[in-house]
């Protein structure tokens, strides 16, 4: 067993971990960095794993950074090792190889926990059958890709971001796809009824069966232990040879818990507690991404925001701060961007108008194009654009800067709306490059 000491130890080799490496180096720090992941592969773009199934992205396109990344950033990668036994007194973790190899102990000055999420698996019999899988790792997507020749009918449980993306990918590759969702609409946390219905239509037009207000009650297999069919709440039965479980992710916090790093309550999602500087309750220990809470610039509160930009920027800011800078992460909110079968949709902040005083919504719906803005006292608090997404970022910027829209509210949803319509001083600022991360 070898012991090694690093100035910076990063657990997680994904958005958060890579953001941290880049933050540390951006701050000019030359200290030693180790990156640990129990996934035995080069850093990859997790949100693209369903595209690997669809076939519009190949393995080369999965790399999140060039192959020489670790070398050029002076990082020692430990890929294929699970970090455990976090000891904050000794400032060390043990690395357990996931497929053979030597054990290590790593000591550190500063630690980033970017351990991401784990799929939520409902307590239900039959989920251990062959052909039943979550969809959050490269390995799981390669496994499904390898089965495509043998899969005729697929069922996807859950119509959130992961479920919808999986259903879209499978629709390109297998004979029939059914998506089963308990809520009364798909993508419910990031849509309103109108935009959700539009997205649903694009699924249905492309041959995906969308079943709402229902769920799977029983998963049944054949004599050889392979998934054969699912029975829904209403008693109907869907035959299938692939079942993807995509009803959500939960923060992966074992490592933090072992070390006694504070979590927020389960009621708030149970992630690692952090402040806007990405510091945890433990000195010199930072956290970001799907495993941690984050500041939401719309609500002003801390919450789980399991999204790629939040993880990357959170990691980058953690890295800057670990290297001695003083930055805050105020770039995150519930923001989503998708495209299903050529139907684009983005949303951010509140997608439904809160039933409270001062809130209003303005809507434009023409043909296949829909846009809705939620305002509070003329400050944008939420946005949905469906069927067209051009210049969506201008609204997001106004939302983040809490710009009063009173003087240009009439123009907000016109076709031409652009930076030119903003009050002079806002306009001049937005025309300039962004030079500060905050």
């Amino acid at each position: 067993m070898a012991t090694k000491k690093f100035d910076y130890l990063i657990v997680g080799n994904s958005a958060g971990g890579i953001g941290c490496v880049e933050g540390i180096r951006r701050a000019g720090q030359k200290g030693s960095i180790a990156v640990v992941s129990d996934e035995d592969c080069h850093t990859y773009a997790r949100p693209l794993i369903t595209h690997l199934i669809e076939g519009d992205v190949e393995m080369k396109g999965m790399d999140f950074r060039p192959r020489n990344f670790y070398g050029s950033f002076g990082v020692e990668p430990f890929l294929g090792y699970r970090a455990e036994g976090l000891d904050l007194e000794k400032r060390s973790v043990r690395l357990r190889p996931t497929n053979g190899g030597t054990r290590h102990t790593l000591r550190f000055d500063r630690l980033l926990i970017a351990t991401g999420g784990k799929p939520f698996i409902p307590p239900m019999a039959g989920l251990d059958l062959d052909g039943v899988t979550p969809m959050i790792t490269l390995k799981q997507s390669l496994d499904v890709r390898g089965r495509l020749g043998r899969v005729r009918r697929a069922v996807v449980l859950g119509a959130g971001l992961i479920g919808t993306k999986t259903a879209e990918a499978l629709a390109h590759r297998v004979e029939s796809v059914s998506m089963v969702e308990l809520a009364d609409r798909i993508l419910s946390p990031v849509t309103d009824p109108v935009s959700s219905a539009m997205a649903t239509e694009s699924f249905r037009n492309n041959g995906v069966e969308v079943l709402l207000n229902t769920t799977i009650e029983e998963v049944r297999g054949d004599a050889r232990g392979r998934v054969k069919e699912v029975k829904l709440k209403d008693g109907s039965v869907l035959p299938c040879d692939l079942l993807v479980i995509a009803i959500g992710v939960r923060p992966r916090t074992e490592l933090a818990e072992e070390g006694g790093v504070a979590l927020v309550s389960m009621k708030l999602g149970g992630g690692i507690e952090v402040d806007v500087k990405m510091r945890t309750s433990a000195e010199g220990v930072y956290a970001c991404g799907d495993c941690a809470h984050a500041h939401d610039f719309v609500t002003g509160g801390m919450r789980l925001l399991p999204l790629w930009p939040n993880a990357y920027i959170g990691g980058r800011i953690a890295g800057l701060n670990m290297a001695g800078a003083e930055h805050s992460h105020r770039w995150a909110t519930n923001m989503n961007s998708v495209d299903f079968f050529g139907f684009p949709m983005v949303s951010a902040g509140f997608t439904l108008k809160p039933e409270k005083k001062g809130y209003e919504e303005i809507v434009r719906h023409e043909g296949g194009q829909y846009a809705k803005i939620v305002l509070k006292d003329d400050v944008i608090q939420g946005l949905i654009m469906a069927g067209h997404v051009d210049r969506a970022g201008i609204y997001l910027g106004l939302m983040r800067e809490k710009v009063k829209t009173t003087s240009f509210k009439e123009q907000l949803l016109t076709d031409e709306f652009a930076v030119v319509h903003l009050p002079a001083e806002v306009k001049e600022r937005i025309k300039q490059p962004i030079t500060e991360i905050e």
Binding site: W308, G393, H421
Partner: protein, 147 residues
């Protein structure tokens, strides 16, 4: 860092910068073919008008590029030597996260073929970007800034 700025007082909103941007990023690079026989690419610069005010705006190549930080594919990065914010078109999957992230509205969808985001690339291979060179009023100019 090379950055393109617009002079509001001489921009008349003629949209020629958009046209020449489209030609420059077309497959033929020929103005007639681009608009007559090809599907023209979306302009990566946008002329905006409100009453007498008009100017063109394109990617600012931000030193803190939110689009690059948000890109779920690792397709946008900052060139360490030049500071330019570069998009690897091969890697782009057209998810529009960058479109939602750019507070200037300077990245747009290109849906002519496989979905791709399109943004100003400062015309690689050209001494002077097409929009700057072709503006009849010299309303666009290049500033060397640090960073």
């Amino acid at each position: 860092m090379k950055r393109i700025y617009a002079k509001e007082d001489v921009c008349i909103g003629c949209h020629l910068c958009e046209i020449h941007c489209q030609v420059e990023h077309s497959s033929s690079r020929n103005i007639i073919k681009t608009f007559k026989t090809e599907q023209p690419p979306p302009p990566r610069i946008m002329v905006q008008e409100e009453g007498p005010v008009s100017f063109a705006l394109q990617c600012r190549h931000c030193p803190e590029p939110y689009c690059a930080y948000a890109c779920i594919a690792g397709a946008i990065y900052q060139d360490q030597a030049t500071g330019e914010v570069i998009q690897d078109r091969e890697k782009c999957i057209g998810c529009w996260t960058c479109v939602l992230s750019c507070t200037k509205g300077a990245i747009r969808p290109d849906v002519r073929g496989p979905r791709k985001a399109a943004k100003c690339d400062l015309c690689p291979g050209r001494e002077v970007p097409a929009c700057v060179e072709m503006c009849p009023n010299d309303a666009l100019y290049i500033l060397e800034e640090d960073p």
